[in-house]
Amino acid sequence: MRISTLAFANLRRRKGKAVFLIIGIAIGIGTGVALLSLSTSIKEEIGSQLDRFGANIVVVPQSNSLSLDYGGLSVSSVSFDVKQLRTEDAASVLQIPYANRISNISPKLLGAVRVEGREVLLAGVDFDSELVLKRWWQVAGKKPENDQQVLVGYEAARALSLIEPTSSTQPPHVSHGGSHQHDENQFQFKIVRNHLTIADQDHEIAGVISQTGGPEDQMIFGSLGHVQRLLNKPGQLSLIEVSALCKDCPIGDIVSQISEQIPHAKVSAIQQSVRARSETVGRLTRFSAAVSAVVLVIGALMIFTTMTGSVIERTKEIGVLRAIGFRRAHIIKGLLIEVSVIGLLGGLLGWGVGLLASWMALPYFSETRIPFELKPVLGIVAMAAGLIIGSISSFYPIVRASRLDPSEAVRYV
């Protein structure tokens, strides 16, 4: 017989109470595990969605330029020693060590062209990547399918009399397909012309981008190679927009790696996007932590009251043990063994139940079906948490038990 024998005998004797405590800890730990697993998965999904929703890194040619503006009046900037970006530079972004974090690369060439007597900003883009990057675009029409087809921004289309306002009861004029094609009834305009002359070349209007409030409203978009030829800038780029999947957000590292890869370019993180992501994810993390903490505190209080009750119930027994020569340390050791077993089993059960609950609940919170994962490290953390919560919450009752006056305790009925 050892002190541990007594502890296990006591656990066997009070099976119901031990099971109750194990379930109590398991609920606390399980809630924490479930919330942690859920929030981690949701965080990853939100992060990925935010990352896909627009670029978070922009690459521009490096130049020593001075911004010349005064009181909102912009004067042409002075640029010198400009190093051009090339089409190959866009491909080289994918050669950085963090290439697996890059979800989209959208190279662009910008230039002013005369369109029917007006100066319009023409952008050459890769429509496949551009339309993935600009998920918020609502295009009345379809994605351009050849060099002669263009997309026109709302304001540009209006200025060039390509569209006319329409009431919601009137059917729209055009009927196109495409990935950004929307229910045509939702547009407040109809396309009245299908062709446009840009730089003396006839182009078909594949679609008009609904008003976004952004710079694209004023622009016309054509395929990159075609615009490079129109602007007589073969192989040149004005900027590259990069969308990085920011799990654990090593955005600074990605920026550094692209800078090393394209030394003649200036690479900047779009801080607003990074901050918005980190704030959203941070709020979710804080919420999960707060809910887990509340549940764990409730679990700890439950253990505290149960252990206090258990010690009171065992006052006589503890008094007898003290009377026959058990030291305070022996009493503490025995009770700690009991609490540790309960805490470890509670943590283990909580880990299993929490993982299962999060896996079952995830489809209701997330669009992504994440495969069931055992996460053994989380299991170890859950068991350690069960041990710590059990020990801390029963610390006071255990110390109180060890301080029982044996002569009083054996008279206790």
Binding site: M1, A9, R13, A323, I324, S407
Partner: protein, 223 residues
Amino acid sequence: MPFLKIEKVTKVYEANGASPVVRVLSDVDVEIEEAEFVCLMGPSGSGKSTLLTIVGAMNHPTEGRVLVDDIDIYSLSDERRADFRREYLGFVFQQHHLMPYLNALENAMLPLATAEMNTREKRDRAANALARVGLNGKALRLPNQLSGGEQGRLAIARAIINEPPLILADEPTGSLDTKTGAEIMEVFLNLNAQGQTVFMVTHNAENSALAHRIINIVDGRIG
């Protein structure tokens, strides 16, 4: 030099809420020699059990001191006093206070739970203690499967497993019928015959008549 020396022991319970100050023992002096069998007798509330718990190193006296084998037990630290209880004393409670979830062998073995000794040796010693009190063959029974007398014997087996030089017994026959009480007294007499000092609190005049000496206590004073 007496084996047990109680010197000018006074115990006063301080006022606690509505309870007034209670003087339970006043200037108690007792000396008991080694291998002596002494019974402490007195009416209820005379301070018998309090004196026994003081001798049992469980209840600090307000004044005075207790020496066992020349050790001033209340000069020891709390933990050393626990060691002293384990090594020097065997305490038999009136209500036996057995652990209901342990069998007879395990109950007898309980004081050895903290000892650095292998399990086989512990079991052998427990079996020997059970044999000495006449509980052979009942080692695996739970306390509720034993009669009142057998429970009393088991409580004695637990008290003697460490071969303590001093056995303290608080009315060990108080809850037993006459025949069973006599059996228990027989066990104590045998232990005393083997050289163990016995200090027993009892109400029973027949039992006390078997002791070497009777000490009477009335209103906390030795009469």
